[in-house]
Subunit: 419 residues, 2 copies
């Protein structure tokens, strides 16, 4: 079971809730999440890696809604954060600090200080200047801080260039020579315990090979470090597991574990994983309403009330999202549509040349696989209030983030008297 | 004078304010706008087209900050809106309804009703179903409503495909045969006064040719309509005037007017223009601070505290923004940098392979030409509070939108008891 969105009598359900009923209650567009799907994806990873008792830190940049985070934290997940704002969210959902890891190339002094005071498990460090900065701040606070060094293994993960992060020319991580040097000179950092290695090669990776290739490199490197007497306690293998958007055949959690675990047989590391999309991607959809069908000589357009401000992935990455009608009409013929939003630029499309059952104004559709990098990337472009977010559990649903209002759009703005 | 950002004693000023002083006061990143530059760009267009007394409707999707809108409205501008949220903003700045025009392919019933009740000047209509919908709602409200039909002239403007809107295969506008038919059957729409033609072929168009080509087509078409006895009162020539980001040599307002006005000599239309970028683009910059300099074997990275959530144009359109140091160091050598943000994806860059004066942590830089499609497209991705916006007039400056706080990030979110 990939997710808990399914049809009953040709109507789309999320778990036991008819999606149309939510649309009628709260209007469109909205993001809709399945509690069960979130939990099951987490548990799939927990089970697959059970033998090594991993710490699975959900990468909240994929979806940082508090209700989602709380759900995962209650099921034993930790959180992978990348900013002070994400640390704030982690604290709001009462994530134990010992399950928080902090990555990212641009940590500010204030963010580092907040994280140290919170007592997070460790920092994933991306550069030497960052290492020095954490040392300085830890010293000021008289704390000893765990640090994991992010190694850039120079592997091409075969994914969109915007989300490939493990090649030498990206901003992420340190080359192995530099990491080696840091371990040798660890006494230069008296307030840091350099105790981990982190590797993350990119996102939406559907084949096992790039992982195996990267991890073999890391393993050789670890062996070398350990021969020299350096101790590595945490091995953070990052995230990046691909999901099914269209016709991908990504590795399952089990297949992934079967490829990965033998590589590290006999090693006593605390393994950390940072899945985001794998847990959230297929756990959510974006529900939208058809406003107009516009037939031109060149194309048919289905103009909907969700736009690129709600879901920017198609415009930004050329991503594919499957489209599910909320009501299947058994025998109608199919038509080909560009499914576009109301925003005034041509980049505002959600699907191009898509064969769908014939659409009419007020028909409701769901964009699949929108649980990751959906709401978290949304904006107010074209002065559009951001969509509501709804969580379903069994037969219950609740708005977990209110739809924004026009007043929300102008919060914090003011007109000087001298204008 | 293209804008009012300039150096005095090697320090960057906006009008008479040293930009560094603002950075010290309010922190970084922030958007900074020059009141004078906004006004001068508006006045350039007003002067160039003075002979036809045009209505210049600022396209607020480029920059919808209330202080900016109020500035332009006070100087006689109208507003080009594309959503109910933008109508709300237009009303907030007391724009006379007779200067509001409403475009966009996805107007909802509620948005149409609000606009009719407000008494806006006219709707730019993009499809037949939309025409029927406005007719129905106008009928319900017992109002007679001005309508301008957007003609798609099928012209390639030679710009980025996401912002080219005048080709036959885009979602925008109606072909001429359809528009002709609507004029012939105008009595089918008793509550509409079909009294205008609208044409907008795209954005950031730097050459005059595509405009002239499109407008010649429109002129022939208008002549044809008028021969048949149809009356056209409003001729809306859209926006799209390109600006200088890098080495573009766009037409000036005067050059543009000299190309365009002769085409329409002797015509008595009320001319409408909808400039956005032309007025806002070079009137604003994004100010950011260098957090880290990271040197790798492949590249030098300047990691700054602004990211793709603040300014998405480079990631989304591959756009170029010039980079100005807040303090010029006369004699230092140049280095080549990728200037990147703190966001955890490789798409988070603001400039690639850019030769700049040597940068160090805490150096301040300004990204030029960020006044249009900058803040208006910004998001909270990676749980980053959105930047502050600051307006300068002469020697005064004021925050016209507060920097968001962590609390703003979670507004409207809640965790159900059953999670």
């Amino acid at each position: 079971m990939m997710h808990d969105f399914h049809y009953v009598n040709d109507e789309l359900y999320c778990e036991s809730v008819r999606v149309k009923d939510i649309a009628w209650r709260i209007g469109t567009p909205f993001y809709l999440y399945s509690h069960k799907t979130f939990v099951e994806h987490l548990e799939k990873l927990q089970r697959a890696f059970k033998s090594v008792k991993p710490l699975i830190c959900f990468s909240m940049k994929a979806n940082s809604n508090l209700a989602i985070l709380r759900t995962l934290v209650k099921k034993g997940a930790g959180l992978d954060i990348v900013s002070g704002g994400e640390l704030f969210r982690a604290k709001k959902v009462l994530c134990p600090p010992s399950r928080i890891v902090y990555a990212g190339v641009g940590k500010t002094d204030q963010e580092i200080e907040d994280a140290i005071r919170t007592g997070i498990l460790l920092f994933n460090v991306e550069s030497i200047p960052e290492l020095s900065r954490i040392e300085r701040i830890a010293g000021k606070l008289r704390k000893k801080v765990n640090v994991s060094l992010r190694v850039n293994p120079d592997v091409d993960p075969g994914t969109h260039e915007h989300i490939a992060t493990g090649k030498a020319e990206t901003k992420f991580g340190l080359d192995m020579d530099t990491v080696h040097l840091v371990f040798m000179r660890a006494d230069q950092y008296p307030h840091l315990l350099i105790c981990g290695i982190h590797v993350h090669i990119g996102s939406q990776i559907v084949r096992g090979e790039p992982f195996v290739k990267a991890f073999r490199k890391i393993l050789l490197f670890l062996t070398h470090l350990e021969k020299e007497g350096h101790k590595v306690e945490f091995l953070n293998l990052g995230g990046g597991l691909g999901i099914i958007y269209s016709d991908e055949r990504p590795q399952t959690a089990d297949e992934f574990a079967k490829q990965i675990l033998p590589l590290f047989k006999g090693k006593k590391y605390t393994f950390i994983f940072e899945p985001g999309r794998f847990i959230a991607g297929n756990s959510g959809v974006l529900v939208s309403r058809v406003l107009y069908i516009k037939e031109t000589q060149a194309k048919n357009f289905a103009i909907i009330d969700g736009g690129m401000n709600d879901l920017i992935r198609p415009a930004l990455y050329g991503s594919f999202h499957d489209i599910w009608p909320l009501k299947k009409k058994g025998l109608t013929r199919k038509s080909t549509y560009d499914v576009v939003g109301p925003i005034c630029e041509s980049g505002d499309f959600l699907a191009k040349n898509r064969a769908l059952q014939e659409l009419h104004p007020n028909d409701l559709v769901a964009f699949a696989s929108a649980g990751a990098y959906g709401f978290s990337m949304s904006s107010n472009y074209n002065a559009r209030p951001r969509a509501a977010e709804v969580l379903v559990r069994g037969s219950k649903f609740e708005v977990v983030r209110e739809r924004e209002t026009y007043l929300d759009l102008i919060r914090g703005e003011r007109i000087p008297r001298w204008v």
